[in-house]
Symmetry: C2
Subunit: 237 residues, 2 copies
DNA sequence: AAGTGGTCTAGACCACGTC
DNA sequence: ACGTGGTCTAGACCACTTT
């Protein structure tokens, strides 16, 4: 484990358990250097991650203030899999695999997903239920050249866990788009819903070497959708 | 201007104008050091910002690859004011100020906005129109102790421009939440819409010293709403 | 083997807030 | 005046990719 990650993890844990409560200051950078026996740069790297994630705010001349975490991360903030979210929130959810197929990308699908025409992809459709009620329908397309094997068992559990921990893939970044769309009859059936609208999240997901391995459409029941975000002002636009 | 900002701005501009086209590599860190006459750390700081914003992807042993920018930033990605967005996208938009009042925060409003009860805040209601059609209704609450003066003229133009460039305020970060809500009769009137739903974005906005100065509810017409995001996978959750 | 980015260190000076 | 974080530099070694 890298040193700055260890410092980050330790600080994060101490913030979570109120060793450093909200509204108070973290130790100074100098004190953290001594505490962990690392250089200032390493301390600053750890603090930079905490800052980026909205856990602290640094104020020049004053210190690093711990921020209140009033809002919970729910379904789609950042790039986190459904399984990881429900685990971290300890929600009672159930995943049902509706279908799993190996298909060939036609030109329409290529345009939508970003995959090459004539390439093969896995198409996985799954529903997510909370308290026995369907709240999300996910349709995943996974590059078959990057993900040679896909099974019902894997789709039933966590695809991301399989890709990262079994295949050793480096999932790096995603471009996503959120809109609200009218529902089709089929979507109403899958979502067990009469609503005229649903929230649609389209994502293209890439590996560390910039190869795209996934395209996903995530359809959320409109009253179950909540997106929480922490944003920093971008000076020097 | 800080050196790393100058390097960042220059690289960003060269990416935008295809001096460094998508899918190609930026010069090496060593070459950028020589080019700008700065240290490696400074180069890396600039590259870190480009990475964070999804403009490049660094691959060890290979270089810094320029990513395709297929998706445009629209209404609410990050922390950018409406005025800045429409300026950068060169949209034909019109802002209409519906009301501007100085009010006292009651306990309900305190709970909603995060402001202290009995404190005074400016309440500003504005509509945003594109092609003569209202697409967004913004309701802003601004701390009167931090923003002593507010006028129709300022509300008509850009409040953020006024706060940053006239008052010298350091707008730093925001927590936001996006949901879909049923519309009230009043909202349908303001949005000139028959829709049963709208997209609601609630934001609390803070200064660099962690004082909250703004709470905003932004109501988007459902078919005009589009949120685009770039996300990096958070290892070491 | 050579070249690239990733991590870590040590030290200097500056800008800002507090005392 | 002092302490804090912000910026910048120089150098070392490691990990990964390409030739």
């Amino acid at each position: 484990m890298k040193k700055y990650q260890e410092v980050y993890n330790d600080l994060k844990e101490k913030i979570r358990t109120n060793v450093y409560p909200a509204e108070t200051s973290l130790p100074t950078e100098q004190a953290l250097q001594d505490l962990y026996g690392v250089s200032r740069d390493t301390v600053r790297k750890a603090l930079a991650i905490l800052t980026e994630r909205g856990m602290i705010q640094k104020v020049q001349g004053r210190g690093s203030l711990v921020l209140k975490q009033e809002l919970l991360n729910f379904p789609v903030s950042g790039l986190t899999s459904y399984q990881e979210l429900t685990d971290s929130l300890q929600l009672q959810t159930k995943t049902e695999v509706i279908s799993l197929d190996l298909i060939v990308v036609n030109s329409n699908l290529a345009n939508l997903t970003g995959f090459e025409p004539y390439s093969k992809v896995w198409k996985v459709v799954r529903t997510r239920s909370i308290d026995g009620k369907v709240s999300v329908v996910d349709t995943d397309y996974l590059s078959a050249s990057l993900v040679p094997t896909m099974t019902l068992d894997i789709a039933q559990e966590s695809i991301y866990d399989y890709l990262e921990n079994q295949l050793g893939m480096d999932i790096a970044y995603a471009q996503k788009e959120i809109t609200v769309e009218p529902t089709s009859r089929e979507e109403r059936e899958l979502l067990q819903s009469q609503d005229d609208y649903l929230v649609l999240i389209k994502s293209r997901v890439y590996l560390g070497d910039t190869r795209q391995f996934q395209y996903t459409e995530s359809k959320h029941k409109i009253d179950k959708f909540r997106f929480v975000d922490f944003a920093r002002r971008k000076h020097s636009l």
